[in-house]
Assembly symmetry: C2
Homo-oligomer: 373 residues x 2
Amino acid sequence: MAKEVYFRKEDLEKYIIHFLTTYSVSEEDAKTIAGVIMAADLRGVHSHGIASLHVYCGDRLRAGLIDASNTFKILKETPNTAVYDGGNGFGQVCGFKAMSSCIDKAKNHTVGLATARNSNHFGIAGYYAMMALKHNMIGISLTNSEPLIAPTYRKTRMLGTNPIAVAVPARNKHPYVLDMATSIVPLGKVMLAETKGEKIPAGYGIDARGEVTTDPMEVKKGGALLPLGGTDIMSGYKGYGLALLVDILCGVLSGASFGSSVGSPIGTSGPNVDIGHFFMAVNIETFRALDDFTRDMDKLIAQLISAPKASGQQRIYIHGEKEFEKMAEYEASGIPLPAAVVDVLKAKGREAGVEFDVNPIKSMNAINGHDQV
Amino acid sequence: MAKEVYFRKEDLEKYIIHFLTTYSVSEEDAKTIAGVIMAADLRGVHSHGIASLHVYCGDRLRAGLIDASNTFKILKETPNTAVYDGGNGFGQVCGFKAMSSCIDKAKNHTVGLATARNSNHFGIAGYYAMMALKHNMIGISLTNSEPLIAPTYRKTRMLGTNPIAVAVPARNKHPYVLDMATSIVPLGKVMLAETKGEKIPAGYGIDARGEVTTDPMEVKKGGALLPLGGTDIMSGYKGYGLALLVDILCGVLSGASFGSSVGSPIGTSGPNVDIGHFFMAVNIETFRALDDFTRDMDKLIAQLISAPKASGQQRIYIHGEKEFEKMAEYEASGIPLPAAVVDVLKAKGREAGVEFDVNPIKSMNAINGHDQV
């Protein structure tokens, strides 16, 4: 069983800020980026947590492929809407600022919508949707991404796993937080099966000829992921439709790259990522008294979770519930990182001249698997 | 092979208007309802076409369960938003008026959003989303519906097949029109398999114990449909999340029924349907010059359809494309209705005292299957 090392969230956050500011990121922006990365680890989405620090941020920052000089700017604005240019800066900074403006607009004008072009990978989409929660608003956050999904009847990668994130406040229950890739699974889950020498369920992906395969290597080498639903018979064209919708709103509406033109946000593979995002905040009071709304959200959630379970099942979950429970656990007992991830952080830190010298609070054999969205 | 009878769209539309006005529906509202029903037949979604006239409209109107007296009213309004009460009138009338107001609001104020409570079945969701197209806007239309989907790990019906419809204009290409139930397939498709004595693919639905079944009867009798994605391993909780989101926006945000409280809109099964809808129109010019937007939509669509096909496939489709082609065909050669549907229209017409005396333009053996969304 793999060893896991537990760290305090505050300590990891402090390291990320230290690393980023060493490479000329402003203190304010570094705090924003660290907050988004930590939110991923706290929610158990470790693929977008500190394990991805160098992949999406560090390597590109050091190679000069992400512009940390805060060139984020507004291109067009109305009381309800805004169009931003991320200035090829950090996606997290772009996302945080754009979503903040949506919330401000929704406060005064019922709803706020924003698009952003010329951005980079922004971490978990759910972070920005959830920003609306503390303002008792509904938040929506979408992003396009590098081509990985093959549309129905196509054999090559063309659309990103373009996630849809929506957060809705409840009263005493956890908020509803949907944060889903529009593929059945992310590529990371296929890679993980490959590392473990396991097969993948038929439907996750296709090989280079466009045939469904259970071999993760075939998906990786010239194959593609399938959209939510999978093959045509299981209505995979619906997942394809959702992935395409996200690309339309994030890529075409914003004026960013779209389809097969979206760049890879990984490592040092070229400067032209030009990812686009879409954000929206809805002021609930515009439609209904907040008290009535949150009461009914609790009722709906109670209906769902108290219902007869399928055989062998103990619980019915609402979206985001598992992640809120994980967050409470990790905040109390520390965030577990696989020893291999810690080794990479140490090696990369040394390479970058910013030693990863964070003290763990404990080490133990792995219990929780590392989830992916 | 079943016989199909072809009718001119105008003739069927005229009959629907005649039928509805005979039962005190205003000329204006009858035209609206007929327009929505005909749009379904023209797009090949015959389950929501004239075959459903008596199921969703006629029987309930005659039984006094739908209030035709046009009590649709506005409850709350801002320059960008509106909250409507459908007055237990026709869902089509409610949908048409609410979406029209969204479009008007978007013209002056960048976006328009509306919720509606106390409504009935409104036909194909795509109709209202597509209303935005002629104004060069993006249209969104959602509705909740009677419980048919079992959420992940639950064995009973709890959420409707709650459709998501989004329409986006292009330039020379057909617009993108996504109109999808959030289940893998609608119940009608399962029923059809039962009628034909066929099995259904594993994943479409579960039996009363919560187990996946290939027997359509088991789904019908105490079982449930599964959400898009299907079982947990294929990420069915994502489809469950989308169905739930539609219920939140249409049911909870509007103040309509939600979850297992949504009534059945079929036949004469009780007065308290209280369906809720959600509509949105986005003025593209707020974000980007329309010319640039539609040019890039054409580019994205061209990229998709010209790509390498999977083996055995001739074409890659954009959402709505098949339906636009069907519409052109049906407008030229007539709308095909199965002889059995014509028989029902005749029997029901006689029963209601409004003879279905529409002359067909031709009869022939069936070529096209009758699709469902």
